[in-house]
Amino acid sequence: MDIPAMRANFAKAAATGDEAPLYFYSHLFLSHPETRAMFPVSMAHQRDRLFSALGDVVARVDDLDALVPILQQLGRDHRKFGTLAAHYPAVGGSLLATLEHFDDQWSPELAKDWTDAYTLVAEVMTAAADEAAEQPAWWDADVVGHEGRAIDVAVLQVRPRARYDYLAGQSLSLETDIRPRLWRYYSPANAPRPDGLMELHVKARDGGPVSSALVRRVRMGDVVRLGPPVGHITLHEESDRDLLLVAGGMGLAPLKALVDQVARRGPARRVDLFVGARNEDHHYDRADLRRLEQENPWLTVTLAVSEDKVSSLEQGDVGDVVMRHGPWLSREVYIAGPGPMVDDTVGRLREHGVPSQRIHSEVFAPSRPGPSVDGEVTE
């Protein structure tokens, strides 16, 4: 396999920007019209995603140790889209046609190398998908509660119809029939419960098709689909260190799940939860947090506002407020929220002397298309 030649060939297609993926998908839909229904109406984001994923694969094609787990994850993830083994040759054919179309030095050798490489990729992905076949490709879940908490925030209670295993702090992808084929990531705000109920916090992003539908249109009795859980904000089994949790905005959900986990499973430890928001109205879950604080003597909840001068809550950016308390040197730290807030807080805590390996963070930003190949989950 002539990897440099393949990379050079791929670079030509990638250099066309949107052209190559546009050609690829049109080719695929024309030669296999049944695949069209697996994609959303607008393909704009899809196209970006395809070539960035392919680029990741091409970049690692000579490092199988790194590549194989990525492909396995991709294979498992694709089950929820309804991908079948039969779809792989179709994609392979259109991919080859695309690579050939944008390379005037296409050769039978390149064709053979790409065919071999793609066959390998498809085998790894289908094998991983088959291995996961004992669990559902997706879970139907009933919306059993929908409560508007602010002008643009709703708290949903959903109950999967089949058993859904996850860890507190993980995220899951979600699709609603109101916006078909658009999957977005959300974190349950509770640890797994015996009755399977999950609490989801959703903020309607301006112009966000899925989030605004979940906040304003989904009602009790609707059904949503859930993908398998992903994400790395989870409590480490072996550690019973006291916790410092710092949430900004919608980053509250996974951290509230960690609080719930400590309450349900232990081990006993002190937990300090800081929640930052712009003003009091944005503290959409204040009442429930106060309830948790009253029920659990080991829990301290501090609410902060950054743009609300008349509020009696603590004033300032949440990272700043955290540093006014403390010290936090012995804590296991979890941070979730918007990018700048996470960066700021991580920076302050490192400066404060908390070792990096005890700081876990996750960025919650608008429109999380899915985990990147590195396993990063961004909203």
């Binding site: 546009l22 050609y23 998908y25 049109s26 080719h27 839909f29 024309l30 030669s31 109406v41 607008s42 393909m43 704009a44 040759p89 179709a90 054919g93 080859l96 046609a97 179309h101 065919t115 002008i151 643009d152 309607a204 301006d206 112009g207 966000g208 098709p209 605004s212 109205d281 008349v310």
Partner: protein, 250 residues
């Protein structure tokens, strides 16, 4: 019979010349028909040849098909033409543009609505804050000790001073009036009493009635009253005179 077979196989690829060159010995009276063995041998050769041709043809046909498949690309279905791909691509781009436009429109609308909402809430909150503050100040003023304000109490002190001055003037006027009245009364009593029983009088002339009105009679006292601003002195004097008269008569 044999010629039928020969004709039938001819179309399947038997070389026509071969068949034409076959010459069977004519039948005679003594030996009707061809020599059997000769005919059989030729026929079997023909059959063999035919079988070989058929097999070869099938093999070639397979090869052609596989070669053609290879040339046309792996999927046997016809690949979409570039033109079709272009048309679908531009249709897809149009759809993408519409969706993006709709999302952008929705984004603008909601963000504008949110801005307006937040501004309204902020203003309402500020107004409420201002109202509460004013109410608290008012409450403090009511319940708290006087020193609070500086200019409003000043004004009221002034007012009070004015009032006090007025009341003082009023009081002194009343006092003066009262004294004059009492003096007049005493004078009246004494004069009446002196008329009734002069011997009971202590001595000589009755003491000079009032310091100021040395003339001694009732009406004289009235002049002193008229200096005062307050009450219509004459009537009061009359009343009092009557009353005093009545009392003294009883």
């Amino acid at each position: 019979m044999s010629s039928d077979q020969a004709h039938g196989n001819e179309e399947r690829g038997l070389n026509p010349a071969d068949v034409q060159n076959v010459r069977f010995t004519r039948a005679s009276m003594l030996r009707p028909g061809y020599v059997d063995a000769e005919v059989d041998r030729v026929m079997s050769r023909v059959a063999e040849e035919l079988a070989r041709h058929i097999a070869e043809k099938a093999a070639l046909r397979d090869e052609v098909r596989s070669l053609r498949a290879y040339v046309d690309g792996a999927p046997v279905q016809e690949a979409p033409s570039d033109q079709a791909v272009r048309i679908l691509s531009s249709a897809q781009q149009t759809a993408d543009a519409y969706v993006a436009e709709a999302e952008e429109f929705s984004r603008q609308m909601t963000s504008e609505a949110r801005t307006v909402y937040e501004e309204e809430v902020r203003q309402a909150r500020e107004n409420a804050g201002a109202i509460i503050q004013a109410a608290q100040e008012a409450a403090a003023k009511m319940t708290g000790p006087a020193p609070a304000g500086a200019d409003t109490p000043g004004r009221s002190v002034e007012e009070l001073e004015e009032q006090v001055a007025y009341l003082k003037a009023f009081g002194s006027a009343v006092r003066v009036q009262l004294r004059s009245y009492l003096e007049a009364l005493i004078t009246d009593v004494e004069s009446e009493w002196g008329k009734a029983d002069p011997g009971a009088l202590p001595q000589g002339p009755p003491r000079p009635p009032a310091q100021r009105s040395g003339r001694g009679t009732g009406p004289g006292g009235a002049t002193a009253f008229s200096d005062n601003t307050v009450s219509p002195a004459p009537s009061a004097e009359e009343d009092v005179s009557v009353a005093a008269g009545a009392r003294s008569s009883s």
